[in-house]
Structures are given as C-alpha cells and as structure tokens.
C-alpha cells in the first residue's frame, strides 16, 4: 500500500480551516444530513481517504476514494433559536465533495 501513497492527492482542507457544507441533491446513499447543509464549521481532523459510499451503494468499486473530515459546528450556528450554552458543539464526519471554503451556500457536485 505504501508505494501508492505518493499518487494519492493531498486533502483540500487542513485542521483549523473554516468550511461551509454545500446544499443540494442527496446522492443514492447520502451521509451528509440536511440539518448541517449550508452551515459553517471548522475542520478538527483529517480522518483519511475512503471509498465513495454513494458509489459503493450502487454496487460500484467506490473509486476514486474521497477525503473524509471531522467538522465541528457551534450548536447555535446549526439550530435557530438555540437556547443551550454557547459552548455547545456538534461534530460530524463529512466527505470532501460536500465542503466548500466559500462562505456562500453552494450546490454539491459529486
């Protein structure tokens, strides 16, 4: 496996980057929940590169692999009228094609 690593594209985002979850049409099997779409969060971990679940779901090999990130959101950014602590957060694993570095809402293009 190691000899192939040099051909693996590097991740587009790094820990600490601010990202926006794209809006748009869910795929065959979609792992990005509606409640986070259009919300802005911070990358807390680059988890690794995994087979594309929406292609695996269609009996395909799931290639190319996708970078997966752990993203932290402020609960007060996720829910309107959130009345809990301002320090409350939610962390979700989100694949790279669902994320954008832009602030405006974008449509997903897998």
């Amino acid at each position: 496996m190691l000899e192939h690593q040099e051909f693996i594209a590097s991740p587009s985002f790094n820990v600490g980057d601010r990202v926006t979850v794209k809006s748009g049409h869910p795929e065959s099997h979609c792992r990005t929940p509606v409640y986070l779409r259009g919300k802005r969060g911070t990358i807390v971990e680059v988890v690794g590169r995994y087979h594309n679940p929406s292609l695996l779901a269609l009996h395909k090999p799931g290639l190319p692999k996708l970078w997966l990130y752990r993203v932290r959101f402020q609960q007060s950014d996720v829910w309107e009228d959130y009345d809990g602590s301002s320090r409350d957060t939610v962390i979700a694993d989100i694949y790279e094609h669902w994320l954008s570095s832009d602030e405006e809402h974008l449509n997903v293009s897998p």
Partner: protein
C-alpha cells in the same frame, strides 16, 4: 433542499418508545443473514447498498415498516439486483414453506 426519508435530524417527531426488549428469533435471523451476506466470504453486497435500498422506502413505508423488516426487504431487493436470486425463486420458496406449514 431535498430531504431523504431517513434524514430526520432536527424534525419534531412523535414520542419515542424507549422500553427495552430482547431481540426476537426473527430479528436475530435477519441480523445473521445480513452478516453472512456482507461478510468477507460472500460479499454479496455492501452495507452502503443496504442503506441506499432502505433510503428508497416511501415515507409511508419507512414509518410503517419495522427496523428489521426494512433490512429484510432491502436484502431481498439487493439479492435480486445482484442476480443471486430472482423474485420468482424467492416467491416460489415462500409458497413452498407456506404449503409445508399448512397455511
């Protein structure tokens, strides 16, 4: 924004029955069936495709059907998609078992 039938995070739902119960024999058999079909020896389909098949339920079916019932119907659909069994073969076998049991 399109919401899939399974994606209910943040919606107001009905009361959740939090009572625990032991898994029934029926549920254990469906669990075993899935583990064997997706395990390294058989690899009939992926868990991702099981999720996709479950997400294809209509909203009515999704709420009406039980958890393991959705698994079972998805397993059936995927075995047919992968041409491991045909709907006719499955239906014939169900009939045979019904006859044997005197239904």
């Amino acid at each position: 924004m399109q919401r899939k039938v399974n994606d209910v995070g943040g919606l107001t739902g009905s009361q959740i029955d939090q009572a625990e119960h032991d898994p029934t024999f029926y549920e254990k058999r469906i669990d075993a069936l899935l583990m064997l079909l997706t395990g390294p020896k058989v690899q009939a389909f992926t868990v991702d495709s099981l999720r996709r098949a479950i997400e294809q339920n209509t909203p009515e079916d999704y709420s009406k059907r039980g958890y393991y019932e959705k698994w079972l119907l998805a397993i059936r659909q995927l075995l047919v998609e992968q041409q491991i069994l045909s709907n006719e073969e499955i239906d014939r076998r169900i009939e045979e078992i019904k006859q044997r049991k005197g239904h």
